[in-house]
Amino acid sequence: MSAMDILFLSLLGGVLGLDTVSFPQAMLSRPIVAATLSGALVGDAVSGLLVGATLELFAVETLPFGASRYPEWGSASVIGGALFAKASWGFDAGRLTTTVLAALAIAWVGGWSMVQVRKLNARWARNRHDAVARGARRTVIGLQVAGIAADLVRGIVVTAIGLAVLAPLQTLALQSWGTSAPLARAMVVGAAGAVSLGAVYKLFHAVPGFVWQFMVGVAAGLAVVVLL
């Protein structure tokens, strides 16, 4: 991956990481969007979409409830989309598995980094408490702008470091990969599907008629798979 690739992808990671919480929370940071955009940026939107859909299955388990800690999918999905699209030179076995593992790890690190930015925001707010209590307009607006800027920088740094570290690691892993492509892909899809199905149960099991609604959907989905 070239330095220019890393530069542009990091900027995209910063913008999409910012969307997770700070601005504008329009879900541009969801994996199915972010990984597709990242894939498109490096010239392969279809690969980006494939890894984005896989990560989306994991992401339905992690919803951004209030002050809870959750993974940061924006920059992680940018890394996922780029790694999958760029690692396509004859490494079919293990390509999706290593990409998804890298993206999940970065989502975890990204979530941790969001907590650090929130702590930084708290420190800034504490230091300017008196000014806010006096109703100082510049302080109130300044805190907001500083928090947004810090989150943008956070996303850029997480994406840049993630790409710089994980792209060569992935290449090393794929060069000595020893299991078959179908098994490797089944492993990652199995994990994603299980997490997603568990999340569906957790979210909707209290909805009246859940089992029937869900089973009708499964039957329709399987029918399409078999018939088409």
């Binding site: 894939g39 707010a125 109703g135 179908p182 599907g193 329709a220 989905g221």
Partner: protein
């Protein structure tokens, strides 16, 4: 800015409303573990407060901005309800104690309603819709536009509605939150989302794993067993974190063997 003449109902110009709406998109910009979204509320209400007597340099403006920038917690999209209502209360000259009590009372309902309606229902519904489109062979453009179009139609409509109803009702906005449509939307959408989820899973798995793969059946059994295991953990562990461990072990095995 001029002071509002006594006895007249306050009005917001289109420019002020637009400014408040755009700021609402950044309401969580300074989110922190002490005041939560409090500074964001002050930031969003600020354009309206300029109409207070004395304008930007007046005591009324400074007192109101200080009051509105204190601790607050709510679902980010429904902070629009609070921002509209608080702007009206401040411009109508409500007593500070009354405004503070109202702010405190509003946190719980706006948080619970938003979490249930948006995070736990509408967002998964949009995700599964996009996964169905993907599973049916949708192109990157169609899949992404389907997700973003559907989600943001609801997202932006909720923010616009919140700001309008908050401004219209002021301190009486709680009645609007009891609207039957809002209260029943979550279970109704939930039923639809459950069906979409059921449809999305086999379709998405099929497209990701690739048609005709011999491990299709084995993957589905793995999905079922894994989901049962996760459900039996009752939230004591998160599936995506367990997956990191499982996939790390598999990658190490694949590289070393």
């Amino acid at each position: 800015m001029t002071a509002r003449p006594p006895g007249r109902s306050p009005e917001l110009s289109l420019g002020t409303r637009v400014s408040m709406f755009i700021r609402l998109l950044a309401v969580q910009g300074a989110w922190n573990y002490e005041t939560l979204v409090g500074n964001g509320i002050g930031f969003c209400v600020e354009p309206a407060l300029r109409q207070l007597p004395g304008g930007l340099d007046g005591d009324a403006y400074r007192s109101a901005l200080a009051r509105e920038s204190q601790y607050f917690n709510a679902h980010p999209y429904l902070t629009s309800v609070a921002v509209g209502a608080l702007a009206r209360a401040e411009l109508e000259g409500e007593a500070p104690e009354r405004i503070e009590r109202f702010r405190t009372a509003l946190c719980g309902p706006l948080g619970a309603l938003g979490d249930r309606l948006v995070w736990a229902t509408f967002l998964p519904l949009c995700s599964f819709t996009a996964l169905v489109v993907f599973g049916l062979g949708g192109s990157p453009f169609v899949t992404v536009i389907t997700f973003l179009g559907l989600y943001n139609a609801g997202h932006l409509a909720l923010r616009v509605w919140g700001l309008q109803v908050g401004w219209r009702r002021g301190l009486g906005v709680a009645q609007s939150l009891g609207n039957p449509w809002l209260q029943h939307a979550s279970p109704r959408l939930g039923r639809f989302a459950a069906a979409l989820a059921g449809m999305a899973l086999p379709l998405a798995v099929d497209r990701i794993i690739g048609a005709g793969q011999v491990l299709w059946g084995g993957t589905l059994v793995g999905v079922l067993l894994g989901a049962i295991l996760l459900a039996s953990l009752h939230g004591r562990a998160e599936g995506w974190k367990i997956s990191i461990g499982v996939l790390t072990a598999f990658v190490l095995y694949s590289v070393i063997r």
